[in-house]
Symmetry: C2
Subunit: 485 residues, 2 copies
Amino acid sequence: MTKNFYLYNTLSRTKELFVPLHAPNVGLYVCGPTVYGDPHLGHARSAVTFDILFRYLTHLGYKVRYVRNITDVGHLENDADEGKDKIAEKARLEQLEPMEVAQYYMNRYHDAMDKINTLRPSIEPLASGHIIEQTELISEILKNGYAYEINGSVYFDVAEYSKKHNYGKLSGRILEELQSNTRELDGQSDKKATYDFALWKKAAPEHIMRWASPWSDGFPGWHLECSVMSKKYLGNAFDIHGGGMDLIFPHHECEIAQNTAAGNAAAQYWIHNNMITLNGQKMSKSSGNFITLEQLFEGAHKLLEQAYSPMTIRFFILQAHYRSTLDFSNAAMQAAEKGLNRLLKTCDILNNLKPSDSSSLDVSFLEKDCFDALNDDLNTPVAVSVLFDGVRIINLVNEKKETLSKEDIDSLKKLYNTVIFDVLGLKKEEKGNTQLTDDLIKLVLELRQKAKENKDFSTSDKIRDELKNLGITVKDTKEGTAWEL
Amino acid sequence: MTKNFYLYNTLSRTKELFVPLHAPNVGLYVCGPTVYGDPHLGHARSAVTFDILFRYLTHLGYKVRYVRNITDVGHLENDADEGKDKIAEKARLEQLEPMEVAQYYMNRYHDAMDKINTLRPSIEPLASGHIIEQTELISEILKNGYAYEINGSVYFDVAEYSKKHNYGKLSGRILEELQSNTRELDGQSDKKATYDFALWKKAAPEHIMRWASPWSDGFPGWHLECSVMSKKYLGNAFDIHGGGMDLIFPHHECEIAQNTAAGNAAAQYWIHNNMITLNGQKMSKSSGNFITLEQLFEGAHKLLEQAYSPMTIRFFILQAHYRSTLDFSNAAMQAAEKGLNRLLKTCDILNNLKPSDSSSLDVSFLEKDCFDALNDDLNTPVAVSVLFDGVRIINLVNEKKETLSKEDIDSLKKLYNTVIFDVLGLKKEEKGNTQLTDDLIKLVLELRQKAKENKDFSTSDKIRDELKNLGITVKDTKEGTAWEL
């Protein structure tokens, strides 16, 4: 079972034909959030990217087990491993139990992801729930001679590993440069070399998040959880590992090194989404340069000219290719909002389109071009532009300037509903009890029609004006009276 | 900081004044769901009971840390410990990874609990995430001589424990009776006595959920997780432990024995909600006699005459005292639906009530009686009946048969809003974009009024009939035209 689906593999730096190890099953592991702050646009981009991958693989007929972890422990403040545990830090700040902070932000993350219509992963394992497996992996790496213990902490020995393996195979970093580019040890670390990274950290006495281990009461290094949880739930060798580009180094490079040092395999395809920038700078919590999703939904941020709905945000994200940077601006968001409305409205028109005996133009290219784009490393912006080519045609047919046969209309309906709703994961955003609203508007328009028939124009005009005040535009056409909210 | 709040303590079999160990902080631990099936009415009753306790403690000014666990491993098929792990069993059935099943049903549980408006606990720890802590507790119990290891499994030694401690102090069970009442060992168990219970079970080779331990690759016994997670997140001694009455024995009895055997303390107050019965029988997954919450929301079960909204279900539950059995019937649910509508409508009337210079009756008893009821072991049915006494008065005032001063109206507003929404956790169920709907109905009624003024009775009658078809009843009163959905 091989499809014509190509994915850019960061490991080989080329687009590769996707061939799963155990078709029709596919294992997909994605690095999820560190739950110590509100989800922002950067989180949304990663989640939407891999949601579309998950949806597309499912569309292709694969049975996908999608694992996305929750980092609730072990993510150190900076990549040099000298910082405090991010979550414990926040907890002390708020005088809360660290897991209370993690639970709070995990709930917030889930709520926001539900809103932008990402499907829930098959499994969402917590780092704190897999300490045993992490200590087992450390023991394995120590046994194989690729790690060393100092004062209760265990570090990965990058120099030793590099004698036999390629540290840098994913990121392209070169060990000698890493060595010369990093500053002198400041004496606070026990590490032999700055590029070594923690597998286990001995906890300071005041550190709340701690577990017993053969080396000390402490906590695992950040990179460990993904090595362990991907293997546990997807198997030793599995298909796809995804995450943001900022995770290529050190996180994913270290993950590969850990797996290799323990004699394990890892993912076949490494897929990375690019960043969202804000005024040209990376949007991220740690840099302070970010807009949360809640602020976007509510328009509550000084940079925002208005609120943007979850589907507008989703459409904005998928209008760029996932490997391109995407710069946030109000103009781009407003264009996305307008484009999405046009696309969804066209779906309604398509569903009510009247067929002719024959088609005056060939529309078969739409399906082919659309799936060619998706098969080409999930090129969603090209797929969307193909859909817009169809929007033009559908509107011409609706205006009776072109014709389409029933067969062509049916295949377009199938294409648009499949791609827009199933694959791209867009949806109509309900603005209330639409059925009752529709029925009431219909009643009001009937009363207006009756008033017109009775030549009671003051009433019919009053109705039109009142409806306009409620945001409902009335249009009289040859077919009757139409309206839109 | 002591309030006048009494709770029935299963341990002492009396109502006791609630005095927290570390006021204003309160630690509350509640046994959550085993996530291997859809949530049903029984889950809702437990969740609503402790949600109201959580809300009321918060209302009293306490800062509550509310921990509710998720059992995703270790709950054995039957209390005799001979069965298979419930979750692993279901997983094999569906050819899924056990954690995929657990994740699926955990999500379903959370969605249903959100719908019935239970507040999310501060921490929701997973049993599978606390294996280290569980093995540590087993080691402690072994060291103290209250457990024994046989063939890689570890059992709690109830007879040994009973020499110094009271096994049965919570449930009132007597050891000798337990012994004589249980059947002969069937040879499949390694236990010394039938009433001994598993702390650690060696996993069969095909068993997927397994962890390394000093005794075997296996999994913890079900009772262990709550001993461990309550201590971890609430401290050695803490305030309240809650759960369904069916958990008193063996689960909570075993929990107390484990804590005591390890030299730990446990909860001060043990609170248990009674069961929901269906045709007089306990409603539970394991007996197959149950209606899921989704079936209730959708009316999709052969015993249901209609769908019942989440708030109807909530109101139905809190109209019985949590320690009474509650028998499900369509008649009772329909009465709850009607009662809730009447109560919420009265809130609207109250919020628009016109004050007089003085009150023609004394309403101060309402607040006193309402909180007296809540302080008396959370007697929600009495509190609700007091609110209904007020409903009668508020309607009399609205009909101008009695009068209330501004001060009395303000204090009633505060009472009703606090108790109904904050403490009992009820809410108005939005049926769509109510503002737009309201405005449209208002417009339609204006048009009807105009038709009547023009003596165009055919139009005005047509409007009334059309609205009736949409479920909107129109009433002409002296003050004008009123309507309700």
